[in-house]
C-alpha cells in the first residue's frame, strides 16, 4: 500500500464508529500490562472472557432492540426469573428432569416475558423505558416469590454441562456468546428482520406505509431480547450451579452500556453487533483492571454509569458533526 492509501484507510478507520472502543481497548491493555504483571496471563484472558459471556449474550438482543428504537430494562430480572423457573422444574421433577425440557422451559419463559413487554409497548403504545422499568419490578418480584427469597440448588448436571464448562482452555459460555453474536450480526445485517429493525428505529412511518405490520415486528424484537436474556439466565444458572432470585442486578445497565459504547445509537436506526462485542470486551477489561487494583465489585457500578454518560454524550456530538 502506498502512502496515500495508508492515509485514506487511516482516516476511514478513525471516522468509523469502531475506532473509539478499539483505541480505548489498546490503551487500557497497555496501561494494565504495565501496572500489573497478572494482566497478560492467559488465565486472566480466560477470566475476562468468562465474565463477559453473559453480558454479550444479553447485549446482542439489546443491540437489535435499541436499533429498532426500543429498550428493555427488565432483562436483569428476566435472567433471575428464568433461572428460578428452571431450577424449580429440576427440583420438582422426581428424576431430576431432562436438560432438553429445561432448555425449552427457559426459552419459553424468555418468549413470554419478552412478549409481555412487546405487547404493552407495541399495542398499548406505552413508552418502552418506563414500561420495562415496571416489568423489571414485576419479574423480579415473581423471582423472589417463586423461590421464597432463597437461592435454589439442584440444577440438573447435564443441563449445567450444556451451557458451562470448557472446550480446551476456552470457556464454553464464551463460545456460546460468540456464536450468538455472530448470529445476531447476521440477523441484523443480512436478514429482513434486521432490515426492518433498522427502519423502525429510523422512521416507523415509512414501514407502516409500505404495508409492513409494525406492531408485530416490534413484539418480535422484544421477544428476541427476552429469549436472549433467558439464555443468559440459563448460562448463569449453569455457571453458578444455583438459581438466585437476586441474580442479574444491573445486567440491564451493563447491556445498555456496551451497546452504546459499541456505537449503536440510542435513538435507533443504526446498529452494530460487532461494536457491541467490542464494547463488552472493553467493559470486561475495565472491570478486570478495577479488580486488580482492588476495587470491590459493587463499586464498579459507578464506572459503568460514567461510561454510559461519556458514551452517550460523545455519541450526541458525533451526530451533530455529521448533520450538515
Amino acid at each position: 500500500m502506498n502512502k496515500s492509501e495508508i492515509k485514506r484507510k487511516s482516516i476511514e478507520f478513525f471516522n468509523s464508529v469502531y475506532s473509539g472502543p478499539i483505541i480505548a481497548i489498546c490503551i487500557l491493555a497497555v496501561l494494565l500490562s504495565v501496572f500489573s504483571p497478572q494482566f497478560l496471563k492467559v488465565t486472566n484472558f480466560i477470566n475476562i472472557s468468562n465474565q463477559i459471556a453473559i453480558n454479550i449474550i444479553i447485549a446482542v438482543g439489546m443491540t437489535i432492540l435499541i436499533t429498532s428504537g426500543g429498550i428493555d430494562l427488565s432483562v436483569g430480572a428476566n435472567v433471575a426469573l428464568t433461572g428460578v423457573i428452571i431450577a424449580l422444574y429440576f427440583r420438582g421433577v422426581p428424576d431430576g428432569g431432562s436438560p432438553l425440557v429445561g432448555i425449552m422451559i427457559g426459552i419459553g419463559a424468555g418468549v413470554i416475558l419478552g412478549a409481555i413487554n412487546g405487547i404493552i409497548v407495541a399495542y398499548l403504545k406505552a413508552p418502552p423505558f418506563i414500561t420495562t422499568l415496571g416489568t423489571m419490578g414485576v419479574f423480579r418480584g415473581f423471582a423472589l416469590v417463586f423461590s421464597g427469597g432463597r437461592p435454589l440448588m439442584g440444577i440438573n448436571p447435564e443441563f449445567v454441562g450444556v451451557f458451562s464448562g470448557f472446550i480446551g482452555r476456552v470457556p464454553l459460555q464464551f463460545i456460546i456468546a460468540l456464536m450468538i453474536a455472530l448470529l445476531g450480526a447476521f440477523v441484523l445485517d443480512r436478514t429482513s428482520i434486521g432490515r426492518i429493525a433498522q427502519c423502525m428505529g429510523g422512521n416507523e412511518k415509512t414501514l407502516r406505509v409500505s404495508g409492513i405490520p409494525v406492531e408485530l415486528y416490534k413484539v418480535m424484537m422484544y421477544v428476541l431480547t427476552g429469549v436472549l436474556a433467558a439464555v443468559g439466565g440459563m448460562v448463569l444458572t449453569s455457571m453458578m450451579e444455583v438459581a438466585e432470585p437476586i441474580a442479574g442486578q444491573f445486567y440491564e445497565l451493563d447491556a445498555v452500556a456496551v451497546v452504546v459504547m459499541g456505537g449503536t445509537q440510542l435513538q435507533g436506526g443504526k446498529g452494530t453487533v460487532f461494536g457491541t462485542v467490542l464494547g463488552a470486551v472493553l467493559l470486561g477489561i475495565v472491570r478486570n483492571g478495577l479488580n486488580m487494583v482492588g476495587v470491590p465489585a459493587n463499586y464498579q457500578q459507578l464506572f459503568v454509569g460514567l461510561i454510559i454518560m461519556i458514551a452517550v454524550v460523545s455519541g450526541s456530538r458525533r451526530k451533530y458533526a455529521t448533520q450538515i
Binding site: 406505552a126 419490578g137 416469590v145 454524550v313
Partner: protein, 317 residues
C-alpha cells in the same frame, strides 16, 4: 377532557381526580375487609408517616414531569446525600453545616443532570439512568458498603419527632404546598408547564428553556436530599442502599397515577399526593395481610406498568 369554564375549585377537583379518589376509597375498603389490622388510627398515622418520603420525591418529580422530562436518579441521590450528611455528622461537623453541604451535593447532582440534558440535547431517561449508577456507586464507595448509624439529637428531633405521626409528614406537606404555589402562581411555574406543553412555542416567545430545564432537575435533587433527611431520621442511620428498591419508582408512578403525564405540560400536585397515598395504602394493606415484601414488589411494579398504560391511553383521547 377536563373542565371547561372555571367551575368552583371543589368542582374541578372532583372532575379531574374522580378516578383516583374512587380508587383510593376502593383500596381502603378492600384492605379494611381483608385485614383486621388495617383500619386503625395507629395504622393510618403510620401510612401518613411513611408516605412522607415518597411524597417529597414525587413533588420534585412533578416539576420534572411537567417540563417534559424524567429523573431516574432520585433514589441514588437520596442514598448518597444521606451518606454524606451522616459521615459529616459522625465526624463532628455541626449539624446545620453538614445538612447544607448535603443539600449542595444534591443540588449539584441535579445541576449536572440538567446541564447534560439541555446542553447535549439528550434524552433525560438515559442521562438520569447513567447518573443513577454513578451516584449509587459513590454512595457505596463513601460508605464502604455499610450503614452509618447515630444521627445527632437535634436532627432527629426536627425530622422525626416524638409523636405518633412524626414530623415528616408535616414537612412533606409544607413542601407540597410550596410546590403547588410555585407551579400555579409564579411565572416560573408557568414556564415549566409551557416547556412541557410545547418546547417550540416556549422557545419562540423568548423564554430561556435551558434555564428552566436545569432548574427542574435542581429542584428534583433538592427534594431527594430532603427525603433523605427524613429517611435518616426515621432509621437513625444512613444506608447506601436507601431508595433502591421501590422508592424511586414510586416517585414516578405516583404523579402519573395522579394525572401527570410523561409527555409534560401538566403539574397536578394534588394528583401526586393522591398517587402517593394510593401506593402507601397498597403497601400497608399488603403488609397487614401478611403478604411478603416480594409480592409487594410485584404489586408496585404492576402499578407502574398500569399507570403508564393509563397515561398513554389518556393521551390518545
Amino acid at each position: 377532557m377536563l373542565g371547561t369554564i372555571r367551575k368552583s375549585l371543589a368542582g374541578r377537583t372532583l372532575d379531574r381526580y374522580r378516578g383516583v379518589i374512587i380508587s383510593l376509597i376502593v383500596i381502603n375498603l378492600f384492605f379494611t375487609f381483608a385485614s383486621e389490622y388495617y383500619f386503625s388510627v395507629y395504622n393510618m398515622m403510620n401510612i401518613l408517616d411513611h408516605s412522607a418520603i415518597s411524597l417529597i420525591l414525587s413533588i420534585g418529580m412533578v416539576f420534572v414531569l411537567a417540563s417534559g422530562g424524567i429523573d431516574l436518579s432520585v433514589g441514588s441521590t437520596l442514598a448518597f446525600t444521606g451518606i454524606i450528611a451522616a459521615l459529616l455528622f459522625v465526624h463532628g461537623v455541626p449539624t446545620l453545616v453538614a445538612m447544607i453541604i448535603a443539600i449542595l451535593v444534591g443540588i449539584g447532582i441535579g445541576l449536572i443532570n440538567g446541564l447534560v440534558i439541555s446542553h447535549y440535547k439528550l434524552q433525560p431517561f438515559i442521562v438520569t439512568l447513567a447518573m443513577l449508577s454513578i451516584v449509587r456507586g459513590l454512595a457505596l464507595v463513601f460508605s464502604g458498603g455499610n450503614p452509618i448509624i447515630g444521627m445527632p439529637a437535634g436532627f432527629l428531633a426536627f425530622f422525626a419527632g416524638d409523636s405518633l405521626i412524626g414530623n415528616g409528614i408535616f414537612i412533606a406537606l409544607g413542601m407540597t404546598l410550596a410546590a403547588a404555589f410555585v407551579l400555579e402562581k409564579t411565572r416560573f411555574g408557568t414556564y415549566v408547564k409551557a416547556l412541557g406543553g410545547s418546547e417550540e412555542a416556549t422557545f419562540l416567545v423568548g423564554v430561556k428553556t435551558s434555564t428552566i430545564k436545569i432548574s427542574v432537575y435542581i429542584i428534583s435533587g433538592f427534594c431527594a436530599v430532603m427525603a433523605s433527611f427524613l429517611f435518616m431520621a426515621g432509621m437513625d442511620a444512613a444506608e447506601p442502599i436507601a431508595g433502591l428498591t421501590t422508592e424511586w419508582m414510586e416517585a414516578i408512578a405516583a404523579p402519573i397515577i395522579g394525572g401527570n403525564s410523561l409527555d409534560g405540560g401538566k403539574a397536578y400536585v394534588l394528583g401526586a399526593v393522591l398517587g402517593v397515598l394510593i401506593l402507601s395504602c397498597i403497601k400497608s394493606g399488603l403488609n397487614m395481610m401478611g403478604v411478603g415484601q416480594h409480592y409487594q414488589q410485584i404489586a408496585i411494579g404492576s402499578v407502574i406498568v398500569a399507570a403508564v398504560i393509563l397515561d398513554s391511553l389518556r393521551r390518545k383521547i
